[in-house]
Symmetry: C2
Subunit: 196 residues, 2 copies
């Protein structure tokens, strides 16, 4: 079965993204060598520049992939909950926990914004943001929240969550600090609830 060109190209894209993910996570964007990275999967920079345009292009693809995985996982966790409000809190906590992964931190939280610019302008339209904005909008429709701008609320919530994760991960005692972060996050979030 002579692999068609389309197939091999797709395989190569996958390989390169995987290699990029690994290299960016381990060395950081700046220190990741495209020569090494491509050689690791039996290719050269030629393939990379053909498929992704430049180094940033590869990072964008990697970020997109991780971001998608995070959104999917958050949705899954949120869905386990019946109450919409509890669901959103759970999603937030999930983001905090996911952001403890060094890979996520280095690539999505640190290098991503620095190299690609603000997440809301990413081509992939940061899935995480979109997802939490959806949740906020649903809660707004139910009248469960104070009148706030959904996009603003989503930005603030995700900003708080991801920043919390950065702090937890950098702390000396991550395991001990994590619950504090989640607790504080849920207190904060409750500020959005409508008074009754």
């Amino acid at each position: 079965m002579a692999k068609s060109r389309q197939e091999t190209m797709e395989e190569n894209r996958v390989k390169l993204i995987a290699a990029g993910r690994k290299a960016f996570a381990e060395k950081g964007y700046a220190a990741a060598s495209m020569d090494e990275l491509t050689a690791d999967v039996g290719l050269t920079r030629g393939a990379l520049y053909h498929n992704f345009g430049d180094k940033r292009g590869l990072l964008a693809a990697v970020v997109n992939e991780i971001d998608g995985e995070m959104a999917a996982r958050a949705k899954e966790i949120g869905g386990e909950n019946d109450d919409a409000w509890q669901s959103m809190l759970a999603e937030g906590a999930a983001y905090i926990e996911m952001a403890l992964d060094p890979e996520v931190q280095r690539i999505v939280l640190l290098d991503g914004p620095a190299v690609l610019g603000d997440p809301s302008k990413w081509p992939s339209q940061n899935s995480c943001l979109v997802a939490t904005q959806r949740s906020v909008e649903q809660l707004l429709e139910k009248g469960a929240l104070k009148p706030v701008d959904p996009e603003a609320a989503a930005r603030l919530l995700s900003g708080a969550a991801l920043n919390a994760a950065l702090w937890v991960a950098a702390s000396d005692d991550p395991k001990g600090v994590l619950p504090k972060a989640i607790d504080a996050f849920q207190s904060l979030a409750s500020g959005l609830l409508a008074d009754r």
Copy 2:
């Protein structure tokens, strides 16, 4: 008057930091050339590496300076308010507004964390964080807040604020969006208030 060695060295440090601030703001950390930067103030890389060790060292110095200015301004604004709670809200809003400055964004919010790592580990111990943590602690003593970990609360608040600013600045209509962001921030923050 033959300038003493100490004097000229101090002058050079100041010049280099100023040049770094400008170059990092305009081109971003990665694209800023140390050759250009130093030549702009009539020096060479020799001076830079002697004074700051490496490129990161200069960035750290620049970040430290800006961070200090921000904390000072926030304190000033917060102080205009009598009520401690209102004061903290004002500080938060001030951070959001300050972070609209492209210089602050590029250097402190994007490149800073990516190159130097998490702010809480910065040598200068991020003044902004320390300041808001202080505020939270004072409010806690008064019993105005739910029982939360002050450090966690501070991290979340500043994370939310700074992230909001990133969003506002990247939006198409910053002036129109800013009030929404501040509004949402104050709603969120109110989640920390003790129930009564």
